[in-house]
């Protein structure tokens, strides 16, 4: 039953990755977390899937129902200064993890953006065209950059959670 629910609600790319999930050793913590996430996350939005994950390049990812929303962290937007232009990709662009997908221009520089996951861009925040400052004002909400599919859910396991990210920021500030 749970499996049927997963197949019905998940996106195409997610379904294609399911065989990979079941082939993996489910006894490893990563395997357990991934399975739990997708079994529980579709009837109710669990904290697991909706929680923010962070890359060491200061991007955040939030996965909801198989779609990942990507933005930059507060640390990053503060470091950048006022964003004057967001150079974002086209819908349909295919990205591998760590691929450069655009750049944010501020007084500081043109800062390149790197994809946290492998997937395909499904949506781009058009509001940023006329209001690039949203990235500074609301980096976790209205200042989101792109939405994308999640080809390899395990990639999320390699990203930092909020606590780990806070520790990471402290370590680089020192």
């Amino acid at each position: 039953m749970a499996l049927c629910t997963i197949l019905r609600c998940a996106s195409g790319s997610l379904t294609s990755s399911l065989p990979r999930l079941s082939n993996r050793n489910a006894r490893t913590p990563a395997g357990l977390i991934a399975r739990t996430c997708y079994k529980r996350g579709l009837s109710t939005t669990t904290r697991f899937c909706a929680a923010l994950k962070f890359t060491d390049k200061h991007e955040w990812v939030r996965v909801d129902s198989g779609v990942a929303t990507v933005g930059i962290s507060n640390f990053a937007q503060e470091a950048l200064g006022d964003v004057v232009y967001c150079g974002l990709p086209e819908v349909g662009t295919k990205l591998a993890q760590s691929d450069e997908f655009g750049a944010l221009e501020s007084v500081k520089a043109a800062s390149e953006l790197y994809s946290p996951l492998m997937g395909e861009v499904t949506d781009v925040n058009d509001a940023l065209a006329d209001n690039p400052g949203l990235v500074n004002k609301s980096c976790y909400k209205d200042g989101w950059l792109i939405k994308m599919t999640v080809s390899i859910p395990e990639e999320l396991d390699g990203l930092m959670d909020e606590v780990a990210y806070e520790r990471y920021i402290k370590s680089i500030e020192d």
């Binding site: 232009y85 150079g87 221009e105 007084v107 790197y114 065209a129």
Partner: protein, 372 residues
């Protein structure tokens, strides 16, 4: 691999037994700071060198300064609109190419009288003020009475008023570069005419705009200051400022063996898709006058291609079906005069029309192409 010209300068050349690349050569050198001079005056080769270095050279514990000059070219910033920033028809007539760089910032004109400096560092060591201090200190060491100072916008002003240098930068994965220009003896009449757009009033865009400034050449205040002297002074001051001890190495950025992958980087920078296609979406709203008839032209341009094209033409001048066919021919085509001219020639050959209509279409075409 290395041809020493003097104690302080050397040229890297290929050799039959060459196994290492520029990157491994730097690693073997073990220097914390390296100064490079480009042997090329080609903008695309030099921009490719700026792409190659952060990509292939370890900059975490090593910084670099690259000095380079180009033959005449207009360079726009990563998110700019060339139709808004420069006079493209004039540039085509003068044979001055257009390049788009990967850093942000505004539009500049380069020729042999302009020195470019690129400061490569790790992201942690990124410090534009300190880099500009190298430039102003070098100039003051040459001519202590020279009034040059960096501003908050990272420009360098001469006599508190004339811009002699502008800055742009790019932050990558783990490293950063800051590059700036320096006007020594640039052709100022060409500079001001190519940097003045012929169509900016008809364009509506959110691309990053340039901030125009009055400019001067260093040569104007001191005819004895030449580019080579200035470059040597900057190299010397770079070593002083950062405590480096590095010879000045001349590199040829067309040498694929020494810099694997650089050829493709130069090719990527020359594609229409990068130079023009990367222009943020914009709209053109223009009135063209043909035979005393005013025609309103509205076009949306996305990725450098005409997305939507509408024309308001009096029905008695040209039938609306003809106008619709004309505009739908333009839809999806690149916003490029050559391509449009070819499309229009094909249109006129394939669509049957009277000689009178053909003449009007021909003049309409010329009007449309004039805004490109």
């Amino acid at each position: 691999m290395v041809l020493r010209l003097s104690n302080r300068a050397c040229v890297l050349s290929g050799s039959a037994r060459l196994k290492s690349t520029l990157s491994t050569y730097f690693d073997e050198m073990g220097k914390a700071g390296i100064i490079l001079k480009s042997a090329s005056t080609g903008i695309f080769e030099n921009l490719a060198l700026e792409d190659w270095i952060p990509d292939r050279v370890d900059l975490q514990n090593r910084s670099m300064l690259l000095l380079w000059r180009n033959s005449p070219v207009v360079v726009i910033g990563r998110h700019q609109n060339p139709w808004q920033e420069c006079n493209l028809p004039l540039m085509r007539r003068l044979g001055i190419p257009l390049a788009r760089r990967r850093s942000g910032g505004g539009t500049v004109f380069h020729d042999f009288g302009n020195i470019n400096m690129t400061f490569f560092t790790s992201k942690k060591k990124y410090d534009r003020h300190r880099n500009l201090k190298v430039v102003t200190s070098a100039l003051k060491a040459l001519r202590p009475d020279l009034d040059v100072a960096a501003t908050d916008r990272f420009d360098i002003l001469l006599n508190g008023h004339y811009k002699i240098s502008g800055t742009a930068a790019k932050l990558g994965r783990t490293s950063a570069y800051h590059h700036c220009t320096l006007l020594c003896s640039v052709d100022r009449s060409i500079l001001s005419s190519v940097l003045k757009s012929n169509t900016s009033e008809v364009i509506k865009s959110n691309a990053t705009p340039s901030v125009p400034s009055p400019v001067k050449n260093l040569l104007d205040v001191d005819p004895t200051l030449d580019s080579n002297t200035i470059m040597d002074a900057i190299a010397s001051q770079y070593s002083n400022e950062f405590g480096f001890d590095s010879p000045v190495i001349t590199v040829d950025p067309t040498h694929e063996g020494l810099m694997p992958g650089i050829h493709k980087m130069a090719q990527d920078l020359q594609t229409w898709e990068w130079i023009y296609g990367r222009t943020p979406k914009f709209s053109v709203c223009s009135s063209i006058v043909v035979d005393d008839v005013t025609i309103k032209l509205d076009m949306d341009i996305k990725n450098g291609a005409v997305g939507q094209c509408a024309m308001e033409i009096p029905e008695n001048w040209l039938p609306s079906e003809m106008v619709n066919e004309f505009t739908s021919t333009l839809n999806g085509s690149n916003y490029c005069p050559n391509e449009t001219a070819v499309l229009m020639a094909a249109f006129m050959r394939t669509v049957s029309m009277t000689a009178d209509v053909a003449e009007k279409i021909h003049r309409l075409c010329a009007g449309v192409v004039s805004v490109m």
